[in-house]
């Protein structure tokens, strides 16, 4: 049960939520692509913050405000180091990936006009589609979509052909939440930036599963959520290359993002504060830093290695089930499996599995264009984290057999 150098049995003790019975069975939590669970270290950090250090940040002269500010800005440095950004000025805290993408759409998006183009792919999450559709409505810009093949892989040549003279931004998933496909983002960024086109990577599904180095990727924006990486809900990050953030206008007005306010005019604060209006989720960000320390201690390479083992174990076990159809068979895949079982609707599968303690997602996974591409109403999806075990995959397979007997 142990991979390279992570001890799954031991680290599961950090996650008390996993050690429970659900509907009379041990919980097998296989819905990590929707949201991961949190270790005690994160809960303790948040509790410690509220117990000892809380005050508002960036404005108090008193000791608690200094402490809270130090923790908040310390977390920014923790995030910077985790993704190897060049400067803390490039780290904007948000409520999550969705807000990070909306920030870019509202702020960077102001430079777009009629006929300008934004390029996404078929496999995007709705949160990387709808903000651009809204921007297109506001600006007259046009959304272009790079297609995928039957395995769920990007058609790279067609992607490159869609990089045109009017393309103002490429915004693509690092990893598809519905299919598990890992996109060739480094090559995609190189192709776009070679033509002077900035690139946003939606890292929601990648950040907790492999080491992310924004300078190696050379992307202009990288967005991710805290709650999918063992951090608190309501936290997220937008990384932005400083050269591009510097020219981006504020997108929300309020406290903290200003230097001076008068009714004859207001001057804005410097980066990153200019893009963070109002009192932020301080405790959440403190918890996010604790989550990053936890992941870093385990080692992202160790996490990736164990999850790769879980993926191959799960794939082999699932394809052995008669009537199993795996949706998303890219050569380079993250640790999630989307599937359908002949004669059983995914929603029914979800209920039958839940009654056996197995938590999966069923439905369109907020990626309806992907479902449309494959002619499906939805899929069942098992998604893994480093704390999952092969025993939980066995439990999933046994529960699927029960479902098949029921619906036979």
């Amino acid at each position: 049960m142990t991979a390279a150098s992570i001890d799954v049995a031991a680290l599961r003790r950090d996650f008390p939520i996993l050690a429970q019975q659900v509907n009379g069975h041990p919980l097998a939590y296989l819905d990590n692509a929707a949201s991961s669970q949190r270790p005690l270290q994160v809960l303790d950090a948040v509790r410690h913050y509220y117990t000892h250090d809380h005050a508002n940040i960036h404005r108090g002269v008193h000791t608690l405000s200094h402490r809270a500010t130090d923790l908040y800005e310390g977390a920014r440095e923790t995030v910077r180091a985790f993704i190897n950004a060049a400067s803390v000025r490039e780290i904007i805290f948000t409520r999550g990936t969705t807000e990070a993408i909306n920030l870019v759409a509202f702020s960077f998006g102001q430079r777009l006009g009629p006929g300008d183009e934004i390029l996404v792919t078929t496999m995007e999450h709705h949160s990387n589609i709808v903000p651009w559709q809204l921007l297109c409505e506001r600006s007259g810009a046009v959304l272009r979509v790079a297609p995928i093949n039957d395995a769920g892989e990007l058609l790279f040549d067609e992607f490159v052909q869609l990089l045109g003279p009017r393309t103002r931004l490429v915004s693509v998933a690092h990893i598809s939440n519905a299919l598990g496909t890992v996109n060739p983002v480094k090559a995609m960024v190189a192709a776009a930036r070679g033509r002077g086109i900035p690139v946003l990577l939606d890292g929601a599904q990648a950040i907790a599963h492999e080491a992310v180095d924004v300078r190696e990727l050379d992307c202009d924006f990288y967005a991710f959520s805290g709650h999918k990486m063992c951090g608190p809900t309501g936290t997220g990050v937008l990384y932005g290359r400083e050269a591009i953030l510097r020219d981006m206008p504020p997108w929300q007005g309020g406290g903290d993002m200003i230097l001076t306010v008068s009714f004859s005019g207001t001057t804005y604060n410097e980066l990153p504060y200019r893009l963070e209006a109002g009192t932020p989720n301080i405790a959440g960000v403190v918890g996010l830093a604790a989550a990053i320390r936890y992941l870093t201690t385990l080692g992202m390479a160790n996490i990736a290695a164990w999850e790769a083992q879980l993926l191959s174990y799960a794939t082999a076990a699932l394809v052995a089930i008669p009537g199993m159809k795996i949706v998303g068979t890219a050569r380079h895949k993250a640790a999630l499996v989307s599937f359908n079982v002949d004669g059983i609707h995914p929603h029914d599968l979800g209920t039958v599995l839940d009654q056996q303690g197995v938590a999966i997602r069923a439905g369109h996974h907020c990626a309806m264009p992907v479902m449309e591409r494959f002619g499906l109403d939805g899929t069942a999806r098992a998604s893994f984290a480093f704390y999952n075990t092969t025993g939980e995959i066995d439990q999933l397979v046994a529960a699927l057999r029960v479902a098949q007997r029921m619906f036979a």
Binding site: N23, H347, T351, A362, G363, G378
Partner: protein, 156 residues
């Protein structure tokens, strides 16, 4: 460690429910028809179109086309059998009764509809069973808009 007793799955997927989901009655496109409406459950992708033929205030004929889970299909099939030939008023009353029984988990449902009472123990599945009925009501009201489970039941 907390243990929650599992509601019996056989209570959700009773024999009659599984049988109707495998062999739905009145699942066809009805031509001609005088009313129709479409319903969606955006959470799980259930889609249904209900067709009606009214004569002298009676539901002379009813049919549906659907893609959805076993609960949704079985509910539509059982609904079509139960409502065919009933008066408009009786259908509306039964729809209200059905919705209330499933959301409250109390009361009795007539005939084979009773097989769906088990759904009341599965809050995330109640919408699957009520979608056909909401769509039928929309058809009776000749509402032009697509109905969804979301806009019609904010509490669920």
């Amino acid at each position: 460690m907390m243990s929650v007793p599992a509601p019996d799955l056989q209570n959700l997927y009773r024999h009659i429910v599984l049988e109707h989901s495998r062999h739905p009655r009145n699942q066809r496109r009805m031509e001609p028809h005088d009313r129709e409406a479409e319903g969606h459950n955006p959470l799980c992708g259930d889609k249904i179109r209900v067709y009606t033929q009214l004569r002298d205030g009676n539901l002379a004929d009813i049919a549906f086309e659907a893609s959805g889970c076993a609960i949704c299909i079985a509910s539509a099939s059982l609904m079509s059998e139960t409502t065919k030939g009933q008066t408009d008023a009786a259908v509306r009353s039964l729809a209200g009764h059905f919705q209330h029984a499933l959301t409250s988990g109390t009361g009795e449902l007539p005939g084979d509809l009773a097989a769906l009472m088990g759904v009341s123990q599965y809050p995330s599945r109640i919408r699957c069973a009520t979608l056909p009925w909401k769509t039928l009501l929309a058809a009776l009201d000749a509402s032009a808009d697509t109905v969804t489970t979301e806009q019609m039941s904010p509490s669920r």
